[in-house]
């Protein structure tokens, strides 16, 4: 793939990379570094991109892989504060903004283990259990069990 085509592909799908960078870092500086690392790894992996695969799936796989394996200097252990209401409950009461609710969800996902964050992000992108299993490298049954466990944990975190 030519660099120009690659940059267009990344530009069109950069939301994915920004979301993953946000889930795996705690400071804007780290987020920016991880974003760049992911773009760099995507460029180096482009030869392995199979045309039949969806670009979004490929970008998610490389982004999560990079976020987990890259050496991160944890500049702060502090995780973002998040509101203590379930988004659905917050929507009903209408007393919090959309931004606060999305931040609350992001913060709750960041409290999960790194592997569970990956599964949750893929699920929220409306990928099927089969697609998630293929990206993770495990069985659909295993993914179903994981998702059930993660959903329970997220609810607890948002209700805490």
């Amino acid at each position: 793939m030519e660099e120009k085509d690659f940059l267009q592909l990344i530009s069109a799908n950069q939301g994915i990379i920004h979301k993953i960078s946000k889930l795996y870092t705690n400071t804007p500086e780290d987020r920016q570094d991880l974003f760049q690392e992911i773009v760099f790894q995507l460029w180096r992996s482009m030869d392995n991109f199979r045309k039949e695969a969806k670009p979004g799936t490929f970008i998610y796989r490389i982004s999560i892989n990079t976020a987990i394996t890259s050496f991160k200097k944890d500049r702060t252990k502090k995780i973002l504060d998040y509101t203590d209401q379930l988004p659905e409950i917050a929507a009903e009461t209408g007393d919090v903004t959309l931004l606060e609710r999305t931040n609350a969800l992001t913060a709750a996902i960041k409290k999960l283990e790194e592997t569970d964050r990956a599964v949750m992000a893929l699920l929220l992108e409306e990928m099927s259990y089969r697609e998630i299993a293929e990206i993770i490298g495990t069985s659909e049954n295993n993914i179903a069990v994981k998702i059930s466990r993660i959903k329970g944990r997220i609810k607890k975190l948002l209700n805490a």
Binding site: E3, F6, L7, I10, S11, Q14, G15, H18, K19, K22, Q32, D33, F35, Q36, E37, V39, F40, Q41, W43, R44, S45, N48, R61, I62, I64, N65, T66, I68, T69, S70, F71, P87, L98, L99, R101, T102, L105, T106, E113, E114, T115, A118, L124, E125, E126, E134, I135, I136, G137, T138, N142, I154
Partner: protein
């Protein structure tokens, strides 16, 4: 939750910035590693160039000189190979396979790092101790230096262990 996820705002990075990110020279981590390695390699090359006169290399046998130079050359070779290896994080067709493969690679790098540093230290001690009359005072000094070198080797190994252990845990958790 899916609606909130889709509604979450993300920054926008323009094409020019993306283009710069593809270049290795602007990579934040690689740039730091590269700078550190270049300083270390430059220092070692200077040592190789001046040691013969500065540290009386001409008064020692050729074999001892060779051990000293090989000690530094293999350390330079290791530094370069570790830099090239650090660039590739993606090692497989799915997350689980990739992380397992990457962890295997890190284990090899861990051994290479420890062995390379041990060979370098042994070469330095051999060179400087050759021909010395070993009395008790000198023996104690050499022992202290050897212990300090040993501690450094343990610290190098432990720093690799921490990362390997973390990735091994993640690889196991992915399929659990």
């Amino acid at each position: 939750m899916k609606d909130l996820w889709n509604a979450s705002q993300t920054e926008h990075t323009n094409m020019e910035t993306l283009k710069n990110m593809v270049a290795e020279k602007s990579h934040p981590v690689l740039k730091k590693i590269k700078r550190q390695l270049l300083v270390e390699i430059a220092a070692w090359i200077v040592i190789i160039c001046v040691y013969h006169n500065a540290f009386d290399g001409d008064k020692r046998p050729g074999a001892i000189n060779l051990v000293f130079v090989i000690g530094f050359l293999q350390a330079i070779a290791y530094n370069l190979s570790s830099y090239l290896g650090a660039r590739n994080l993606i090692q497989g067709v799915n997350l689980s396979a990739s992380i397992k493969e990457y962890t295997k690679k890190l284990k090899k790098f861990q051994w290479a790092a420890v062995c390379s540093r041990a060979v370098l230290m042994a070469a330095i001690i051999t060179f400087f101790c050759y021909g010395l009359e070993i009395d008790t005072k000198r023996l104690i000094s050499i022992a202290v230096i050897a212990v300090l070198f040993g501690i450094q080797l343990v610290l190098i190994s432990l720093s690799w262990n921490k990362r390997i252990k973390k990735l091994t845990g993640i690889a196991a958790a992915l399929t659990r």
